[in-house]
């Protein structure tokens, strides 16, 4: 208990850092994921290939490696002087977007054929079909997998802590290095992560209930 109370400011700092990192990367991954899924089912072959390459490459690369690319290679090539927080968001967002895109595409697969046919017979264009008819239904089916992806994103965000981003893992490292009881620090940090992941999965379960499709 001592460790938590004596260093409450540090813990709060790390907690807020993890929350911020997770929510910004989640937003990025969802936006990119929708784009990737749309590209994968689009009528333009170049976009389909691009999205497939994106998904295959990112799904099979360790996040730590992506962080290294983001921190050591990206600033030298394209964006000199970007903050480590932004780079971490980029790495996490891109990594998770591949999984989100895949989950959404599975969702698209589960939408009955007649839906798209009906949309087309009304004269809707491909973007209209996707935006108004198919993706809203696919998104609902994909809610459960996306929920577990967001939990995984929270867990992956810990890696940012070892690249000069303030988050719970960075605080664990700092407190362990300054001679606090390693086990106690671990338990408090673990409970903090437990709290975040629990809230996320409850949130998605609520959403699932709210948006369930009666099919």
């Amino acid at each position: 208990m001592h460790v938590l109370l004596d260093n409450f400011a540090l813990f709060r700092h790390g907690f807020v850092g993890t929350l911020l990192l997770t929510s910004v990367s989640a937003a990025l991954s969802l936006a990119l994921g929708v784009l990737v899924a749309a590209c994968r089912v689009s009528p333009v072959p170049a976009l389909r290939i691009l999205a497939t390459v994106w998904v295959t490459l990112l799904r099979n690369t360790p996040v730590t490696l992506l962080f290294l690319v983001a921190v050591f290679a990206a600033p030298r090539i394209l964006f000199p002087g970007t903050s480590h927080f932004a780079l971490a968001v980029g790495a996490l967002g891109c990594y998770t977007s591949a999984f989100v895109g895949e989950a959404l595409r599975r969702g698209v697969d589960s939408v009955p054929l007649g839906q798209a046919e009906a949309a087309r017979s009304l004269g809707m264009t491909f973007p209209q079909t996707l935006r108004l008819v198919v993706l809203p239904q696919a998104g609902r089916t994909a809610l459960a997998p996306i929920g577990s992806l967001m939990v995984a994103l929270t867990k992956n965000s810990a890696i940012a802590g070892s690249f000069d981003v303030t988050d719970l893992f960075a605080e664990q490292r700092r407190l362990s290095a300054t001679g606090h009881d390693v086990l106690e620090v671990f338990v408090w940090i673990a409970l903090a992560y437990l709290l975040i992941t629990f809230v996320i999965s409850e949130l998605f379960q609520l959403l699932e209930h709210r948006l369930a499709v009666a099919r």
Partner: protein
């Protein structure tokens, strides 16, 4: 729904428009690639000296050692996590309430925290880095595998277990000879995909200076001086290619197992 149902078969005008889209998107992608290449060139990352590194004996030695370290950690963690997973899965299905609760608590706790936090705590608790990685990954992925296996065992039709009891088998025999063999078949693809995640997670050793692939590569790169600064990119590209290849092989294995299983059942 197949992707083809999302749009009509194109007429001549649409075909022309799509050709324009295709050209535009290809051009945009190529332009981006060219921009990256240009910047790389400007930084001297394409200089022969940078890529000469790949042929350097010392570097190859270190990267080879790093790859071996990863494979060793992966083999131990994979075996450990499967064993722990089986134990915990059976524990969660136990008829004794304390055992069930204990197994549930362990699984739910370790499953919902980042493996990195676990690995680091073990390392800070004075374990050598190699053991911290192996133990941390075993604990985390063991709990994930436990859930995978439990789902499989619960999915075996009830009649199977009942038939086992009817012919006079004991609980442990029913589990070992009736339920687990059938569950294993069903969950093998998922378990193998989870093993691919375990392999990817060995890279967490980087954070605690375990002499694995990424660490070796970074060290080698920062010890080399080229006109464009340390050749991080060259080393990262080579390592990434290795990881992607091995992970793709594992997921191909998972798909193959899934197909075989489907064939047997069909």
């Amino acid at each position: 729904m197949s992707a083809g149902a999302l749009f009509d078969a194109p007429g001549p005008r649409t075909r022309r428009r799509r050709r324009i889209y295709a050209l535009a998107s290809t051009a945009a992608i190529l332009a981006l690639a060219a921009l990256v290449a240009l910047r790389l060139c400007g930084n001297g990352q394409f200089a022969a000296a940078v890529w000469d590194l790949v042929r350097d004996r010392g570097l190859r030695q270190r990267v080879g050692d790093g790859a071996l370290a990863i494979l060793r950690a992966f083999a131990l963690a994979a075996a450990g996590s499967l064993a722990l997973g089986a134990l915990l899965a059976v524990g969660r299905l136990s008829e004794h309430r304390p055992v069930r609760w204990a197994a549930t608590a362990v699984v739910e706790f370790f499953r919902s925290l980042p493996p990195l936090v676990l690995v680091f705590a073990l390392y800070a608790g004075a374990l050598p880095p190699s053991w911290a990685v192996v133990l941390g990954l075993t604990l985390y992925h063991g709990c994930v595998q436990a859930e995978v296996l439990r789902a499989g065992i619960s999915a075996v039709p009830r009649g199977q277990a009942e038939a086992g009891y009817a012919v006079g088998l004991r609980k442990s025999r029913v589990m070992a000879t009736v339920l687990v063999p059938q569950a294993l078949r069903a969950v093998l693809p998922t378990a193998v995909s989870q093993l691919a995640v375990t392999l990817k997670d060995t890279s967490l050793g980087f954070v605690i200076a375990y002499g694995e692939l990424l660490h070796a590569g970074r060290l080698a790169a920062s010890n080399t001086v080229t006109p464009g600064g340390p050749p991080y990119l060259a080393v990262l590209v080579v390592i990434a290619a290795g990881y992607v290849a091995v992970c793709l092989a594992l997921s191909a294995l998972a798909r193959w197992i899934e197909r075989r299983g489907a064939r047997g059942r069909g």
